[in-house]
């Protein structure tokens, strides 16, 4: 199995890694909300939030290159939705180009909105990368359960997490087998092959699910799962949350 892309750095040890998952989840959410609520144009506020994140990322000992790479995940969406905004937004014109047939103009308002969105979504993705790279999913799920997510849903998620590795492996093997048999031909043929792959994967997964369930029944499963994992909310968590909330509130109070 080669799935080091899943949960890659959650085993590191740092101050951030040791925080309670609930603390990390709630402070991340608070940071995201603070960033989203800040209107575009308040560059000083964004700079402060960036500095807070940068300090936290440095503390977490995550490789910086990895954090940067992960943060690029927003690019496709930006390209699809945001990139045209400067051309369409009404307002004072910054650059204009007339080709005779049509008029292309970029407005200051449009540029402002686009930069605002780019900065906001980049700051938020940094915070999400930090949260998810510093927390093991099992801990996170336990934290979410404490925060009130339904028990059944948490159980499904933890089973899913266990079998992602197995099924992703199966899917990758199928893809390799397909590619080594010179996958080509016309469009219809390609879709039929992918359909057959996914269908086979479905039937195998379904039968695997049945086997897992029967095996669990044989071991006394009655719909209840008890976890040994216990979360510990330490004083450090309270101090950290308090400090972060104050730091988040300061910039808007100073510059709005």
């Amino acid at each position: 199995m080669k799935h080091d892309f899943i949960d890659k750095y959650s085993n590191l040890d740092s101050f951030i890694h040791r925080l309670d998952p609930r603390t990390k989840f709630l402070t991340s959410l608070a940071l995201t909300i603070a960033v989203v609520l800040t209107p575009a144009g308040n560059w000083k506020v964004f700079l402060c939030y960036f500095l807070i994140l940068a300090v936290l990322i440095l503390f977490s000992r995550l490789p910086l290159l990895y954090v940067m790479k992960r943060s690029l995940v927003i690019i496709p969406f930006v390209l699809m939705v945001a990139i045209f905004i400067p051309f369409f937004k009404q307002g004072q014109i910054a650059v204009s180009y007339n080709s005779g047939l049509f008029q292309l103009s970029i407005t200051y308002d449009g540029i402002l909105i686009l930069t605002g969105i780019l900065i906001k979504s980049w700051l938020c993705i940094l915070s999400l990368v930090l949260l998810t790279s510093c927390t093991k999913l099992a801990d996170m799920l336990e934290g979410l359960k404490q925060l009130g997510v339904p028990h059944v849903f948490i159980l499904i998620l933890s089973f899913m997490y266990r079998y992602i590795f197995v099924l992703a492996d199966q899917a990758m093997r199928m893809q390799q087998a397909r590619d080594s048999r010179n996958f080509g031909g016309n469009y219809w043929h390609k879709f039929k092959i992918i359909g057959n792959m996914i269908g086979t994967l479905f039937i195998r997964s379904y039968e695997r699910g049945e086997r897992v369930y029967v095996a669990m029944l044989a071991r006394g499963y009655n719909g209840e799962v008890s976890a040994i994992r216990k979360l510990h909310y330490a004083p450090a968590d309270a101090y950290f949350s308090l400090l972060l909330f104050i730091l988040l509130l300061c910039p808007p109070l100073l510059w709005w």
């Binding site: 899943i6 905004i85 266990r162 992703a168 879709f191 039929k192 992918i194 996914i198």
Partner: protein, 212 residues
């Protein structure tokens, strides 16, 4: 079409989150009633299946590639409420492990890809199936059309949320999102039909669980 944070504003995020929580609570209740909490391992494995199936890329026009969404397939094979739970699980893991889709935008993402897509495709499938008096061809036609609409509907919902947030004007958001996904939807529809016909040949008993 996972919306990252920063594209929708807080009121939209909160509204979609509340709707999503309601739908998931309802799904938990309904599946508990129909299947029992004992089906949990099965649903976990099937959520992992959807996740793995989404890793298989297919070519779209011009060298770009798309991937399978799976909401329609899950809805047709397992029923809408189970599908809602499975798709939500997939989206939660994609957010919390792969940073696909934002934390604050999670409610909106689940609403678009895990709830709207599931119900749109399920009712179109079921409508066509009963209209054509339920033979094999009716299933496949219904699944194909349902799958196409599932993708287009969730892309449109996504565009509407972005436009309401004031991030992108309506005249850009709707054509950009819906326009691209009209083509992506064709791929989704072809694959869903192919998967369903394979399942109908090899394990037709699995489908009897649903439209009985």
């Amino acid at each position: 079409m996972h919306i990252p944070d920063g594209f929708i504003d807080v009121p939209v995020a909160v509204t979609t989150f509340v709707v999503t929580v309601g739908a998931i609570a309802c799904a938990v209740k309904t599946t508990n009633h129909n299947l029992g909490e004992k089906q949990v391992p099965m649903m976990g494995v099937l959520a992992a299946f959807i996740f793995a199936a989404q890793m298989l890329n297919f070519p779209v026009v011009g060298g770009t590639s798309g991937h399978f969404l799976g909401a329609a397939l899950a809805a047709i094979l397992l029923g809408p409420w189970t599908a809602v739970l499975i798709m939500s699980s997939v989206l939660v893991v994609q957010c919390l492990v792969f940073q696909d889709g934002g934390l604050l935008a999670l409610g909106a993402n689940i609403l678009n890809m895990g709830i709207i897509s599931v119900f749109v495709s399920y009712y179109i499938y079921k409508g066509i199936y009963t209209l054509l008096k339920g033979n094999k061809a009716a299933r496949l036609i219904g699944a194909g059309i349902g799958a196409w609409f599932s993708v287009v509907a969730s892309a449109t919902a996504c565009a509407i949320e972005i436009a309401i947030s004031g991030t992108s004007p309506w005249e850009i958001a709707i054509p950009a999102m819906t326009g691209i996904h009209i083509f992506v939807g064709i791929g989704e529809s072809l694959i869903t039909v192919a998967v369903l016909s394979l399942v109908l040949v090899t394990r037709p008993d699995l489908l009897e669980l649903q439209v009985a």
